[in-house]
Symmetry: D2
């Protein structure tokens, strides 16, 4: 039974770690605030988790990853493998690659699409990039976590670029749906009627799920917090800005999520941007 | 065998009229420039087509519809039914309703989602609004044209509002995909790799089809011309403007399509907005 | 003493008509709701005012102008001159030109920059376009109304295009000032301090005046109503849309003013868009 | 005769340092690439310049300032004063304040408005913030450099916030003028005619100067490079982003300048964004 380390037991990390345990891995797990969980062996430091020779990080953002990185690099034996599954910024992911190389450790990026429920069911969609041999080594783990694994290149940060590109599409869809609901309602249409047409037209589980959340205004408890949406949109902006890429729709989203956080909605579900669109149009207050 | 009139044999209208003929209707068809087509009986005027008591119009826009309207109203017997299947502006559709009422004729709006190929296969998605009895009368015809019929209300123009809301979502998706392709490419990702992830994530035939067209840059021959995209975005703008609805993403689209037409790309496929996004980002010239 | 007609005695028209009377013209004035004013001779119809052979219209918009147009054309003797001083849409102004030509009457466009106070002081800035001989004929009148007369071409609607271009610059300045005030305040700066710098830098009476209104939040009573600001931005959009001109900043303004009206602020001063910018940034509620 | 240090002899720094020399200061000047200039004493390091006890930095950006900071802090005697006159980011300026405090040195921010010609004529407009006693100490120097000195608060970074707010207004004006020129031209107006109206209406030397540059399309040699415009807009974005401030017009500018740099126009004058607006509207290629 292979021993692996897992750092970060948040709403995504916990179910992922459990799935790995269930798949037969001995999981040495660490979280900033200790979390007991059946099947996981809690350890006292990220370093200890990395001592297994293969460690996964699933943390909130670049800063949280950076906070554990020195221990990860120290704990990993020479040639050990670090798989970053969080959504990280492209420049930061690129820097991680370089730093692992200089330290004689290996780095793989494998961010995921899916909400906590999908993580729990092992139905994530995983985007992976890195050296082919490293990808092969990681594949059994990734298979335990997701239904699909997409390989997008040999430079690890490409996986984060793809992840951010995907998040951009999702956030764009939210904005479009919110504007459309308000537009049709102001023209006299019941939103339910519009939703059925949208559902039938796109035939996408993503439109179906988000369209329904927006329809029912289920902004709380949050599935994905608006302030994390802002974090992602900032990373999308960064990926554009650092490569001299105008991104008008991305910047529209940035203003939208900044507004949400400025208005105190950071802890609501990110679909709550609908309320901002409604208010702009004079609906609901 | 019921006789019906059909006005407008363009790339959408012709396959639709043929499907009705094949479904057993005697179709008295009229087009501005006469078009012979098997199974259709060509008549000399919209008035003659309307003389059947039930006439469908499938024309380019509000103006083309307005051009035949006097003859339609004159040709229809009292109580006769006009089904407008074009994408019309909401205010114009609302006015049509009123004018039919005053003339003692019935008006049903039934715009469609789908490209010419879908029309040919009878696989359109039809949004219908109008008096319930009129909808029932039209249902057999609509079934011959499409795979789904969505009823969205009793005021006919609601169907056009829904249609425009849907078109807004599609155009928004195009803009988002175009920006995303350029963003990931400028970050080093092959577009093909990104496309596979998008396809797998959304699992929508619409993303699949448009994502591929954008990937392969198949801007010609056009499936839907950019200048018609502009026409639709203008109607979306109108539906927002006349109801005091801010629509920031809609206006971003308006600028995009205005740019496309200003640059002389009006006859290309509307997905050619990708070229504008690429050029802004310094790609391909 | 020359007799002239003056149609429209609103907040701008009334002081203008008075100035003409004071300059020695016999002014036959008409308003939809009769308004007594010293020095003006009230007449019973626009037709009567036009009977003088030279009539000025100063009305709210295209529709209000269109409402009196038949009487104007009927009242003017052959070769008579109509000077439209309202802010009109470019396509409408162009149509007016054609209609006067067909009727054998002359048409001059002479829209003005300035608020009611400036009108009262005879300090308007007037943009005029039309046949050179007509401009010469009008010059003495225009001199009585304003401090500057700018000739911008022989096709009358060019004056309206210039007027709308100017209004676009003013509205853009308002948006920029509003965003800047919020930006610096959220960074800890007192707005007064920022205002002094802006004033000193631009050295423009326009920035000085509007900067102060925004600083003092004097949104009521309105100097220029937000709903009229929306009207102007719509005409700016129209001038762009009808000529295939993308206008991203113009469309940002359109969304801003649509929001203002949708939120019920149409009767406040148009500088009240500051409240929208503040609210977006989480300030003042 | 007081001895002072001056670090950074670029297109702005050089004339400023000369003016200080002419005002009677003994100026110990340092530049990365040595630059001889009459009246200035060249020294071998920023540290030596700071050894005078009062040192001004006038460098390209945050990074260039950071590159000399250790020497500045080391060279300044305890209680010595550093006046940062460059345009710096608000967070960086705030950090500089803290670092000087910890090192027992004083820090004043005094960014300037004005192009190189204004610097040469001693006609800059200077925004200063810091401890009142420090401002008083600096006042004679600032008077030698500019025509106006605006005090905006005691926290030095406030001066940089004001400077960025001002730059935001200028860049917004450029975008507005560019869009307006294209809009009126596409409606048939000669740009010269429009320019005269704008000049007369705003009565601002800033509109007059920039309006003329845009009119004459004098994009080269650059007075202020487009890539530096992008740098400033990025700092504006940062000031907004770090304070949760939506800034739609600011983000429109960000996309515009990103486009300019992406298209290879970074070394042209920043007014060259006019070419982008023209191209979008189908003018000039």
């Amino acid at each position: 039974m292979r021993r692996i380390g897992f750092v970060g037991l948040g709403s995504m990390g916990l179910p992922m770690a459990k799935n790995l345990a269930q798949a037969g891995y001995e999981v040495l797990a660490w979280n900033r605030t200790p979390k007991e969980a059946e099947g996981l062996t809690q350890v006292g430091s990220p370093k200890e988790a990395a001592g297994t020779g293969l460690v996964i990080t699933m943390l909130a953002d670049d800063a949280a990853t950076e906070a554990v990185l020195p221990e990860i690099l120290e704990g990993l034996p020479p040639g050990g493998l670090h798989i970053a599954m969080s959504t990280l910024g492209v420049p930061y992911s690129r820097a991680l690659w370089e730093r692992h190389r200089q330290a004689g450790r290996r780095y793989l990026a494998a961010p995921v699409f899916g909400r906590p429920e999908a993580a729990a069911r092992g139905e994530l969609r995983i985007v992976v990039a890195g050296a082919p041999a490293d990808v092969e080594e990681a594949r059994p783990l990734l298979k335990a976590l997701g239904v699909e694994v997409y390989e997008v290149g040999e430079a690890p940060h490409l996986a984060h670029a793809v992840k951010l590109g995907g998040n951009f599409l999702i956030a764009s869809m939210l904005e479009a749906l919110a504007e459309a609901y308000v537009l049709v309602e102001k023209n006299g249409v019941r939103r339910e009627a519009f939703y059925e047409v949208v559902r039938g037209f796109f035939r996408s589980p993503v439109y179906e799920a988000y369209g329904r959340i927006l329809l029912e205004r289920r902004f709380s408890p949050p599935g994905f917090k608006l302030r994390l949406g802002l974090k992602d949109v900032r990373l999308i902006h960064q990926a554009a800005d650092t490569t001299q890429t105008p991104l008008p729709l991305g910047h529209l989203l940035l203003d939208r999520f900044l507004e949400g956080v400025a208005r105190g909605m950071g802890e609501e579900d990110w679909t709550a941007i609908l309320k901002l669109v409604e208010a702009e149009g004079g609906l609901h207050g």
